[in-house]
């Protein structure tokens, strides 16, 4: 992977508490799976940075290698890879996502 892409990803996931690599923007997701994760984060009132990988082919490939994860979306919390759409939804349903965010010091809206 291009070192500048890797550095850029590291920079983004360390300077933002919650980062979502996605297709499209949080306002206009271009994929149902990305939209589902945006919906979960929005529901929880979590402030996050959405990064549209469709805008940058090198990032689109680079994030897959960086995370060792072949699909988009990908959620990072405090620099740590949490998972894709299935995992985020499962963790949300079980309450683990809310717990993880709280444990990491990210503000979550009370249910």
């Amino acid at each position: 992977m291009d070192a500048t892409v890797s550095e850029r990803i590291k920079g983004d996931i360390t300077s933002n508490d919650v980062v979502l690599y996605m297709k499209g923007s949080p306002v206009f997701p271009q994929c149902g799976f990305s939209a589902a994760v945006v919906q979960v984060l929005t529901h929880l009132g979590v402030k996050f940075k959405g990064i549209d990988i469709l805008q940058d082919p090198s990032l689109r490939q680079g994030i897959k290698e960086f995370s060792q994860w072949p699909t988009i979306p990908q959620l990072y919390v405090k620099g740590e890879f949490v998972g894709g759409c299935d995992i985020v939804r499962e963790m949300f349903d079980s309450g683990e996502l809310q717990q993880l965010l709280t444990d990491k010091g990210v503000t979550v809206k009370a249910a």
């Binding site: 799976f33 060792q68 994860w69 072949p70 699909t71 759409c85 299935d86 995992i87 499962e90």
Partner: protein, 93 residues
């Protein structure tokens, strides 16, 4: 052999699942990016196997992705995954 059959064979050989359901959701994504007129691009997979015990969700999905790497890099555009151990599998019906 269809893509679904190939995935079933690979997953069965690797994980010896106690339950494996592969659903082709491609018709729901007709016309979307990554869809093909002939289908078999979007799948949902539910797999229950003892091999997942003691592994995190991320580790489990990485295992499945690695087994299906060829399919994911070629034909399969989206793969929704549920990975559980037999103990975690809720009773059916």
């Amino acid at each position: 052999m269809t893509v679904a059959e190939t995935m079933r064979r690979k997953l069965t050989e690797t994980f010896r699942p106690t339950r494996l359901e592969i659903v082709d959701d491609s018709h729901k994504h007709a016309g979307h990016a990554g869809a093909r007129p002939e289908g078999e691009t979007h799948f949902s997979v539910e797999i229950v196997a003892a091999a997942f015990a003691g592994k995190t969700r991320v580790e489990r999905q990485r295992l499945v992705y690695s087994v299906l790497a060829a399919e994911l890099s070629d034909r399969v555009h989206a793969l929704a995954l549920q990975t559980r151990t037999p103990a975690e599998d809720p009773p059916r019906g």
